[in-house]
Structures are given as structure tokens and as C-alpha cells.
């Protein structure tokens, strides 16, 4: 069980949260301008690193807000959680 530090609520059990996958992926502003390969890259391709991973979590059983986290995918240790808009760490 992970202990996750929500930027607004503080530390809560993992069961309070929903996982949102890799962070930092921006939806293209003009999808029609993309080639199939570029669209596939946005839609499906993931970095899936072995080590530090920037990812999204939602405090779905709490404040229901999204936030970012840097978590190591081997040790599962969470180095930092942060607000998405301001980037402010807690």
C-alpha cells in the first residue's frame, strides 16, 4: 500500500486515490494537423521508464483533485507530489 501525499489533503492511503497514468502528455491543439504516426504517439505510446516516472493521481475518495507525482517504478518510493498548475511541491 502506497502512502500518497495529496497537495491539498496531506498523506492518505493509496485506496483513496485513482491512478492517472503518465503525466506531461498534452493533447495536441489541432489533432487534424497530425499525421497518423504523431496521433498514435500521443494516443498510445508511453515512456514507461524503469526508474523515476512523472505521473498523475486523482484524490478520488477525497478532494477529487488531480495532482502530479514523481514515483520510482522500481522501489515505488514517491519523491514528490505537486500541484499541476503552479508546480508547487508539498
Amino acid at each position: 500500500m502506497l502512502l500518497i501525499n495529496c497537495p491539498w489533503c496531506g498523506e492518505r492511503d493509496e485506496t483513496d486515490f485513482s491512478y492517472g497514468g503518465e503525466g506531461g502528455i498534452t493533447r495536441p491543439l489541432d489533432p487534424c494537423a497530425l499525421s497518423d504516426a504523431e496521433w498514435a504517439d500521443y494516443l498510445f505510446m508511453r515512456s514507461n521508464p524503469r526508474g523515476p516516472h512523472q505521473e498523475l493521481w486523482n484524490h478520488s475518495q477525497g478532494c477529487r483533485r488531480w495532482f502530479g507525482a514523481e514515483r520510482n517504478t522500481v522501489t515505488y518510493k514517491i519523491a514528490a507530489t505537486y500541484e499541476l498548475q503552479s508546480g508547487k511541491q508539498n
Binding site: 502506497l2 485513482s18 498514435a40 494516443l43 508511453r46 514507461n48 521508464p49 524503469r50 505521473e55 522500481v74
Partner: protein, 416 residues
Amino acid sequence: MKKYSAFSLLRNAISYNRNWQRAWRCPEPRRKYNVVIVGGGGHGLATAYYLAKEHGVRNIAVLEKGWIGGGNTGRNTTIVRSNYLWTEASLLYEKSLKLWEGLSQDLNYNVMFSQRGVYNLGHSLQDMRDIERRVGANRLNGIDAEVVTPEQIKKAIPLINTSANARYPILGASLQRRGGVARHDAIAWGFARAADAYGVDIIQQCEVTGLNRDSGRITGLETTRGSIQTNKVGVVVAGNASVLASMAELRLPIESHPLQALVSEPLKPVLDSVVMSNAVHGYISQSDKGDLVIGAGIDAYTGYGQRGSFHTIEHALQAIIELFPSFSRVRMLRMWGGTVDICPDACPIISKTPIDGLYFNFGWGTGGFKATPGSGWVFAHTIAQDRPHELNAPFNLERFTTGALVDEHGAAAVAH
């Protein structure tokens, strides 16, 4: 290779079992191979075996960073079935099931394949509609499947709770009688021994650290035991697909998640078939040793740690207790985790790549064990002929660009 038989058992018993031959050699890596397979799990060893046997390829190496069969081959719940919904997937898994049926004889190694029947339970009207549809699709593809009633289920599995008052009542099931379980270690060891007999070098404790390329084609690999020259590399790594692909600067539509399983203390025989439930989400069988083998879904987050969170295990056991209330007193003995590479359509990638001589076979998600022989068989064809077999042609890397996905998420008789 000395043949295993009743006679060899007798002969070795007389000599106090001191003269058994090693099942496979432990060679030093050579500097040059015709084909190098990266990953010494069941799929990798099967690929090497079929490359040698079906395609006459010689001078093959299998590189394994740990020990053979120590990854997902040794970490699954050993269920074998082929009742997938979509034609592309069901034909691939059916090829594998057909190979399983003759595998012990073919390898001269008892893989303990036991066709004890696989039940996929339905708990709602929509579940039953999906089951009817899938059974129909299977039969059209020549795969044995039938719909069974709660009375038939209760008769075959007396311990199961078919009460209409259950929280999730059992309304019926699909049954594939040819499905069952096999012995996980035996499949790795059997393929290793049979491949070794064809001269395949199985090199353990040898991690690949780089893929060497020259103007768009593979020229060799860097490993922790030196450089190896080769023109063909087959990458068959579960739980490290993205890591290997990044060595060739390729991006994959794969995310790696922990998948956990657990076994109970050994019991007397209580369950002689495999029971899976999509809705309450658990699956269970009893091993020959007597322990209940239990699995469920993946952990939500990505991870390479070969372990997951406890609440995922708790959820699986809740499902099992829902189906078998009497198992609530059973004590659990061990739990473990593997790393499963999940594709967006829950189907594998068995494909050529943009780099000549580099072939991928991974992304089997939560269901790779059943496919072990079939996966090796089609991948050997793909490597030897430099083009996919018609069975694995739909499972190419380009499908994520063209959109021709084989969407087995939720369709494949179990929620992934």
C-alpha cells in the same frame, strides 16, 4: 540428449540416480551467432526450439539476465485456454492450445498439462449475453466451448455458491473442456532441454545492455558478458519491453504493471477445474500439490518492482470467498508479483520492427503463459522467414498507427 522414459527411470534407479545427464549445458557465450533471442522465459526458449526444429536454424543463443523461467513464466497461475472473442486472438491462442496438447511427447518432458476444464462465470444478464456471444464466436472458429447452467456448475463444482441470494448470483458460465493448467517450471525446463539438444546455447546471468545498429539494421548486442555479433535479434522480454525498445530508440504502446498471485496451504482435492469470474474478479484452481492458486487483476499503477499493493490481493480474496464461502478458513501460504506489459488492446506485439533484423514479441499482458508454445512457434516463423506467419500478422507494431486493434479488453473472458 538421453531420452526420458520408464526404462530410463528404472536404469537410473538401479544406479542410485547418480548418472542422470544435465538437462542443458551451461556454455560461455560465443562472439557470433546467427540468431540471438533476448529473454530466457518460456516464450524465448520456445522460440529457440521452434527455430531449430521447424526452420533448421543453427547457431542460436538465448540470453537471460537472471535464470531461465524466473520471470513471468514462474510467476503466473498456469491457466491455459483459448476462448478469446476475436478471431485473430482466438486462432493464435488455439494454435498454442493445440501445441500444448502434444507438447509432453514432442519435448520428451512432462509439462503436466491437465485439461480439466475452464469455467468463466456470468453474474448478470449482460454477462450471460457476452458469454453466449463468445461461445458462439469460439465455435465458429472451431474452438470447443459451451454454455452451462448453474445446476451443471453446482454438479461439477460442489463447493461453489450458486445460491440465488448471493450478492453476485451465478447465472451460468462458459466452459472450455480442453482448457486447464500446466506446470510452469516444466515448460521452461522442457523447452530448454529440447532446444539445447539442437545445440542452442542457453546463457544465463547475461544481461543485454545495448543493441548495436548500422544504417538501419542490427549488427549485434552489448551484454554484461561481452559483445556478440549477429544479424537477427528476437526480443522476448516480459516486464522489460520498454527498456529493451528504448535501447533501439523505439517507443512502445506498453505500460508495465505489477500482477500478483498467491497460493494457500496444500489441501486435499476440493476443486478439479479452473474457475474464473469476470465480475467479482478472481480466478482459482487447485494445483497437483493441493494448494489453491489464486489470481486477480493488475495493480493500477505502473511498476517494475515485482510486487504490488496489499489491497489488490484483498480484493482477489474477497472475490474467491464470494464464490467459495468455505475457503474463508483456508490459510494463505505465499504471495508474489510479476511485471506484465499491457498493450492498449490487451493483445501482444509479435512483429518486425523499423530496424532490419530486430523482431519483437512482447506485450502479452496478463495472459502470456497459455500462449507459450504458440508464441514461440509464430515468432520462430517471423524470425526465420523475415515475415510474420498469418496467425501473428494482425499483431504487428503498426496497428497502433493504422487503428486496426484487436480489442480483447474485457472481451477475452476475463477483465484485464
